[in-house]
Symmetry: C2
Subunit: 215 residues, 2 copies
């Protein structure tokens, strides 16, 4: 009899031997591929096992059920993606800092993995949809926005920028440099990669012209 009743599919049944960890890692990686390609409902567990090697029973013992595996993939992937965004220089020069941050961000969110992740997270439609989506949002977009928000706030305190609401402004900056190619990319429609560069330049310019205290 499985552990189906509990809403928290376990991953911590017994001890974790080296081989066990390896198995877990292999399944997780295969699942990442399949889920990101197919989405939650379309993904087939048998496919995942085919890719990962091993057996279905093992998958169930480790992750409980399909949703448990999916949640693990969401967490894993979202964190992996977030870690790509290492901005080293939060300097006092808003221009170069924003430009640098923007460039890294554009690189991140235009990557196939990030686009798939976003699409798949939106598409979930299981009973636990709300929980899954919260995990994604808070581990991903919200954390990124938080980084920028804190920078903007510090710049405002120093009197270098003048913004009513730094949380909103951070969101606006981020969305501004994603527009208009991100929407198309999410929908799988092609776009000229150069447009990303131009949107970044223009976005930084617009934002700073609007937000700088010194006119």
């Amino acid at each position: 009899m499985g552990m189906r009743g509990t809403s928290v599919p376990c991953k911590a049944g017994g001890k974790l031997t080296a081989r066990g960890l390896e198995r877990q890692r292999l399944i997780l990686r295969a699942a990442q591929g399949v889920f990101l390609e197919q989405g939650f409902e379309q993904a087939c567990l048998a496919d995942i096992i085919t890719r990962a090697g091993g057996s279905l029973s093992t998958l169930y013992r480790i992750f409980g059920n399909k949703l448990g595996l999916f949640e693990a993939v969401i967490k894993e992937t979202t964190c992996e993606l977030f870690e790509r965004l290492e901005v080293e220089q939060w300097s006092e020069d808003s221009g170069t800092t924003l430009h640098d941050f923007g460039r890294k961000l554009v690189e991140l969110v235009s990557s196939p993995e990030a686009l798939s992740m976003y699409r798949v997270a939106l598409a979930v439609n299981s009973p636990d949809r709300e929980q899954v989506q919260r995990i994604f949002y808070e581990q991903g977009p919200a954390r990124i926005r938080g980084l920028l928000q804190r920078y903007l706030e510090s710049q405002c305190r120093k009197g270098l920028l003048d913004l009513d609401d730094c949380e909103i402004a951070a969101g606006q900056f981020i969305d501004m440099i994603k527009a208009p190619w991100h929407q198309q990319a999410l929908l799988g429609l092609p776009h000229d990669p150069q447009i990303r560069q131009r949107a970044l330049e223009q976005g930084v310019k617009l934002f700073l012209d609007g937000a700088r205290t010194v006119r």
Copy 2:
């Protein structure tokens, strides 16, 4: 033997009697509800018929198959939504015009129907995914951006605004006033409705400060 082979599921088999049109309309409306709630793959045709009345056979005769019905729903819904966006005053005063346009746009894209439509369009994963998504994008977001783009271009020609690339700028304005609540709304996470108002105000301000020629 059905008409499965052709990639264009017919809707124009025979003549359209009054009763036939009524049937078509009822099925379409029910399908709209079910597809927008469940997404393409999750939606169940039997459910649709239960809501619409009538019989499964009729559905298949009219729309060919599930995908044909879905495409019809996409077109119908996207057009319905677009028509809500009637901006009457494209005046020379960029401030009030953008504010007016923004207000209407925010109303539109924060509506449950528009959010569902967006989510469902992203989530499609059938073989014809590309075609479906193109229909949505071109009938919906692209058309809306086009409206604004043309306005911005005319303002630039008159020397009232100064923008490098009005297509990008239009996208940026639109995304700016949607940030940051739209992402949360798409994910089904709650947000303070007041934030929509504030994002609008701040977005217009930022955009105009950055784009106006007269400083």
